[in-house]
């Protein structure tokens, strides 16, 4: 800790010196009498000793959700009595103290330990280093200050708040493992597909007796098997559009986390590609471990500005397995992301796009030129959307509606687009 003098120390020293010098100059002892209390306070204050403080920041939770409250404890003990101890917990911009304040003051006796409970809340998902505490101890006469700083010791992971999703986008093709997606192929399953003539080797339990009676020959039921799917969440991190309350990248990450959780619950393999200035990827996997991996990779997602051209060739091949559903989340602001989607479509990937609407966050501007630029920007986005739709990519705009509604829109588009392609 650093020892420093308070403004009082300089002030009282000045006053005492002036009084004593005035007494000498004017030969009036009353001025020395007036200066005496200031000198006495200085003499008492200069005897203040190092408080021997021990400060620790503790927090049980390592993971939390956006807007969820977590309790942190600041424990402080003093070897010597401290008349006023000020503790200021420095928090990252998106972490706030729910009750009370981040700055507290107290008085400690020698050997006394105190614990302060602070309820924290993360306003936004992300990784936060919390635990930076500034300490300031003062002597009773406030002449000397000991200041110290304990650096952040705790990393808090704030996960995106879960989204409610009732139905997911089904992929065109499924994989080999059992899952919850009804495959288009025929085999053992629950969903009825068709009937056909009996051939040796068919199981007796699959014989459709009513149809066999009508046809005067054995007929068996065919079914769709339930298989899992490979889903790759393709998050656009080229650009973010934000205002004070909302950010399209925040919304995209929330949606990605919600979709990943839901697909994993259906035993699908889920992977992630955050495509932008910095490429982040995670190969598809299953289970709760994969969920944590996905969310923690998402937490690191941020916009890193770059002007270099990037295409899908930089993505590791195993991150995009064949016949996987690529679910893109983008504000359709950067043409490089649109080109990447077109490229993937050209490689026969099944692609659906949720467009996180940035238009409400952008004001048209005051001047005619700014308004014209705003109109051009909107037209440019229309062109991006048209380019994707003409390639049979289902796209829906996510604004104020629930994500479920948006997915239904994409589902409807895919249904008709597929029929049109055939």
């Amino acid at each position: 800790m650093t020892r420093a003098g308070n403004p009082r120390l300089v002030g009282y020293t000045t006053l005492a010196a002036l009084g004593l010098l005035g007494a000498l100059a004017l030969r009036r002892p009353e001025l020395a009498v007036v200066a005496a209390p200031f000198a006495l306070v200085l003499a008492i204050g200069s005897r203040a000793r190092h408080p021997q403080l021990d400060v620790a920041f503790e927090m049980d939770a390592e993971r939390t959700l956006e807007d969820a409250e977590e309790i942190a404890t600041v424990t402080v003990s003093a070897g010597r009595a401290v008349d006023r101890l000020e503790l200021m917990v420095d928090l990252p911009p998106d972490v706030e103290v729910v009750d009370g304040g981040a700055a507290r003051s107290m008085r400690l006796q020698a050997g006394e330990a105190r614990g302060l409970y602070i309820t924290l809340r993360c306003r936004r998902w992300g990784l936060y280093d919390v635990g930076t505490v500034r300490v300031r101890a003062r002597d009773p006469w406030r002449l000397v200050t000991w200041e110290g700083r304990i650096e952040a010791s705790h990393r808090l992971k704030a996960y995106p708040r879960p989204l409610t999703l009732r139905r997911l986008l089904a992929p065109v093709e499924t994989q080999a493992l059992a899952g919850s997606q009804v495959a288009r192929t025929k085999g053992d399953g629950v969903e009825y597909a068709d009937i056909r003539d009996f051939v040796p080797g068919d199981r007796v339990r699959s014989i459709n007796w009513r149809a066999s009676a009508r046809r005067q020959g054995l007929v068996v039921n065919e079914r769709h098997p339930e298989r899992n799917a490979d889903v790759v969440l393709f998050v656009d991190s080229f650009a973010d559009v934000r205002d004070d309350d909302r950010s399209v990248l925040d919304d995209a990450v929330r949606a990605a986390a919600g979709l990943a959780t839901k697909y994993l619950e259906h035993r699908d393999r889920v992977g992630l590609v955050a495509f932008g200035g910095v490429l982040r990827w995670l190969q598809p996997g299953m289970g709760s471990t994969q969920r944590y991996r996905l969310v923690e990779t998402l937490l690191e997602t941020g916009v890193e500005p770059t002007y270099t051209w990037r295409d899908v060739n930089v993505i590791p091949a195993r991150t995009l397995p064949p016949a996987s559903l690529v679910l893109a989340l983008t504000p359709l602001v950067d043409p490089r992301f649109v080109a990447a989607l077109e490229d993937l479509r050209g490689r026969r990937y099944d692609i659906a796009v949720v467009e996180v609407d940035p238009v409400p966050l952008v004001r048209p501007g005051q001047t005619e030129v700014e308004r014209a630029a705003h109109r051009l920007w909107i037209l440019e986005r229309e062109v991006h959307r048209w380019r994707l739709e003409t390639r049979g990519i289902g796209i829906a705009t996510w604004g104020d509606d629930a994500l479920d509604t948006v997915l239904e829109e994409v589902r409807t588009f895919r249904r008709y687009a597929r029929a049109a392609r055939v």
């Binding site: 800790m1 650093t2 020892r3 420093a4 003098g5 308070n6 403004p7 009082r8 120390l9 300089v10 002030g11 009282y12 020293t13 000045t14 006053l15 005492a16 010196a17 002036l18 009084g19 004593l20 010098l21 005035g22 007494a23 000498l24 004017l26 030969r27 009036r28 002892p29 009353e30 001025l31 020395a32 009498v33 007036v34 200066a35 005496a36 209390p37 200031f38 000198a39 006495l40 306070v41 200085l42 003499a43 200069s46 190092h50 021997q52 006023r84 000020e86 200021m88 009370g100 304040g101 700055a103 507290r104 003051s105 107290m106 008085r107 009773p140 006469w141 406030r142 002449l143 000397v144």
Partner: protein, 156 residues
């Protein structure tokens, strides 16, 4: 207190000094300029010094009250500046601080009175100013040493 004494000319000068000191103190508190607090106190003390210089009274018995008053004013002004940092304190912290400030002022009154009595006693023997001068010199040296010791130093 100096305003209540002296002739009209002195009172007019002292009123102006007091007004300037008051404005300086208010500015210090409102703007958070701690360096203005001793300036304001020094102005009031300067007014008192002028009065003492013009007055031929042998020893002013009001000096302890002036000393306690100046210390009290300085303490209250610095306390006000300290409270600019918005911290949540223990219950009763303000009362405890007020009691400490009041005790300090009372202590200043007692110490100054004792010192004045001592000066009065010694002055009768003709050593007063020499003694005050010696005390002042020692006090200044002690203050400088204390100031040097208060330089930032790293601790545990």
């Amino acid at each position: 207190m100096p305003l209540g004494r002296g002739d009209d000319t002195f009172q007019q000068i002292d009123v102006r000094i007091a007004a300037v000191a008051f404005v300086a103190l208010v500015a210090a508190i409102v703007q958070g300029w701690s360096w203005l607090v001793p300036a304001a106190i020094a102005l009031v003390g300067g007014g008192y010094a002028i009065e003492l210089a013009l007055d031929d009274a042998p020893l002013d018995v009001a000096a302890p009250v002036v000393a306690a008053g100046l210390l009290l004013a300085a303490e209250l002004a610095y306390w006000s500046l300290d409270e600019r940092s918005h911290t949540i304190g223990d219950p009763g912290e303000g009362l405890r601080r007020a009691a400490l400030v009041a005790t300090g002022a009372a202590g200043a009154l007692v110490v100054a009175s004792a010192l004045l009595a001592l000066v009065d006693e010694v002055r009768g023997r003709g050593l007063a100013l020499d003694l005050v001068g010696a005390v002042a010199a020692v006090a200044v040296v002690v203050t400088v040493i204390a100031g040097a010791r208060s330089q930032p130093s790293k601790g545990a």
